[in-house]
């Protein structure tokens, strides 16, 4: 009887101690008292002490843990090719606001921070564009002249621009601002009363700046990627943008979009 009372007191002490860790923890059977699984329940949900755990890691393990796996989740190298379409709102020499013209172009984008930076946040921030924008107006018409006297003009903008993007949460969207420099090649012909045209061309320094929204949509799901082990997942990239060009003392505005593929 004395020995039963001592056991009961010990059991009570053990139950009290358990309540402090978990109110609804099951009571152990006698033969499970020192089981490993039981001890695992006592572990915190997350590691509590790097100092303590570090003692358990090898140097190689520690270095491996510090390597960002962001590139494994989204392995695109971030090279894009896009076709640009939109409206070139040409600065009006006759002070009528703008002269709307069609504008097209090609753009190569390198999201260089995906290659050069490993941090999950910063690798999404930077990209650079190399672009060509082209626009043509051929008279006659309100902007181009009369049937007797008219002008045709071509604008070609070549720019290198750096952008700063800000991802919108976990969506494929990001907003960006960018600025760049380049040169504008303008070629102009005047046609007068059926005579041969007389042309003039010039290259001018060009300043580019603008805002936009960029979307990258994966063409292949992450699951397929894991199963089949694609090295790079092609994405569709799409932009809507407002870009301004300052050429000499003229300010043009491009409003448009671009669509392409990102590797």
């Amino acid at each position: 009887m004395r020995s039963l009372l001592v056991l009961a007191l010990l059991a009570s002490t053990a139950a009290y101690a358990q309540k402090r860790r978990g109110e609804d923890a099951p009571l152990p059977y006698d033969d499970q008292g020192d089981d490993d699984d039981d001890r695992r329940r006592d572990l915190p949900r997350r590691s509590e002490g790097d100092r303590e755990r570090g003692l358990e890691e090898t140097e190689v393990e520690r270095q491996d843990r510090e390597i960002s796996l962001a590139g494994e989740d989204d392995p695109n190298i971030g090279i894009s090719a896009e076709v640009i379409l939109g409206a070139n709102l040409l600065d009006s020499s006759r002070a009528q606001g703008v002269e709307p013209m069609f504008m097209g172009g090609i753009r190569i984008t390198w999201e260089w921070s995906r290659t050069l930076l490993s941090d999950e946040f910063w690798r999404e921030i930077f990209f650079a564009d190399v672009s060509w924008f082209g626009s043509t107006a051929r008279g006659p018409g309100g902007f181009g002249g009369t049937t007797d006297i008219f002008n045709s003009v071509n604008y070609h903008h070549f720019t290198l621009a750096q952008a700063f993007a800000y991802p919108l949460g976990r969506t494929p969207l990001s907003v960006y601002a960018q600025g760049g420099i380049g040169f504008s090649y303008q070629q102009s012909n005047i046609y007068i009363q059926g005579a041969d045209p007389v042309g003039i061309s010039a290259v001018r320094f060009l300043l580019q700046y603008g805002l936009g929204i960029r979307v990258r949509i994966h063409l292949v799901s992450e699951e397929v990627f894991r199963q089949q082990g694609y090295v790079g997942i092609p994405c569709i990239s799409f932009r809507i943008e407002v870009t301004r060009f300052r050429r000499a003392y003229m300010d043009d505005t491009f409003i448009g979009a671009s669509l392409g593929i990102t590797f």
């Binding site: 006659p140 009369t146 005047i190």
Partner: protein, 412 residues
Amino acid sequence: MALLYSNAGKLAPTETQLDTIANVAALKGNVVNMVGGAGISVDPNDPAQQNLPANASDRQVFDAFVKARGTDVHANLIDKSGVLWPADFHSWAMVTTYWNFEQAFKYYQRVYDTDMVGLDLLQGAEVLYWADFRDYYQQDPTQQQSTDNALYYPLTRQFIIAPYFHFQKVPVSMNLGIVGHEMAHRVFTQKAYANAVLPPIFSLDGFVLNIAKGFDEGLADFHGYGVTCVTTGGPNCATNFIEASFDEETMRRVFPRSPLPTTRDFSRSQNGCMSKELRDSLVGLTTVSFTSQGFHYKLGTLVASALWHASEPLGQTEAVQKGLIAAYDDSDPANPGFRQVFDSAIAQPGNISLGKMADVIIGHMPEGTELQKRVCEQLVDRLDIDRNAMPNPVPHCPSTASVGDQCPAVPP
């Protein structure tokens, strides 16, 4: 570079110099200042215009009619070896327009002679390039917005270059003769109307104002012709300078009531005689009706024709041009100018007549010369001034003058 006439008589890009320009991209200079995006509305239902007091200041009138002040133009210019090339159509047009105004001013510098005060006043006007000018007095809605036209608008003292639309030839402001013609209207307004934004004679609707309008147009055509002779880059003395910008087919279709461009060529003898229709219209029509049918141009062509046929064979057009400048405003009671004739017509409308207007011109030609005699003969003949009453209608005619016989007598 501007679009000037070559020796072959064709417009071509030509290197030239703007002597009075201060800001070449904005095309502002001593002669004129170019403005884009401006708008003027003449609207009988506009309260600002309805409520203008009789003694409204020039500023009040300006504010009532100008609906958009506009902004600086900025010509797209490319510097090629120190020569500025316009790089789009409107830049070509604006540079050429400024050049045209500069040449016109050089012409008036010559014919104003020593009138430096008058020359100072002539400079510095705004040219509303590609302006939105609307006249809601026009009954036809399609005619309310001005196109294919250039005008001097005395109420705001601005030149207006309306957009080309129907006509596809040389735009009006690129036509040196037309620019010279419009500047002549500024000259007429400043001198004959004492630079009033609302000249008192405008209240004399009908015969008196019809005559004034007709002479204003005729003298403008004659000066416009003079401007075409002033430079080698011009069309080389063209009496038909209107035809470079207006073609007959489009004119018949768009402005069927206006005179055809060829009828404005005052060197053609068939254009230079009074008709019964014109004389009846001069007397019987209101000024709005008279001008909307282009009768003021027809009357003007008679005046220009008389002056040209009188002076050209003698090689003395410059003497006529200078005499006309003197005739606009002359306070000599024995030899009054148009301004003084108009002033007298305010008190006594009967003081104005075709003969009186012709006499003002004759009285300011070099006295006793063959030129004065020929001017008299031509004006009396072409305006069909009463031959039987000679010399009473034109007392400044030399006694040696005989009535010309180029035109048939107009039936009563």
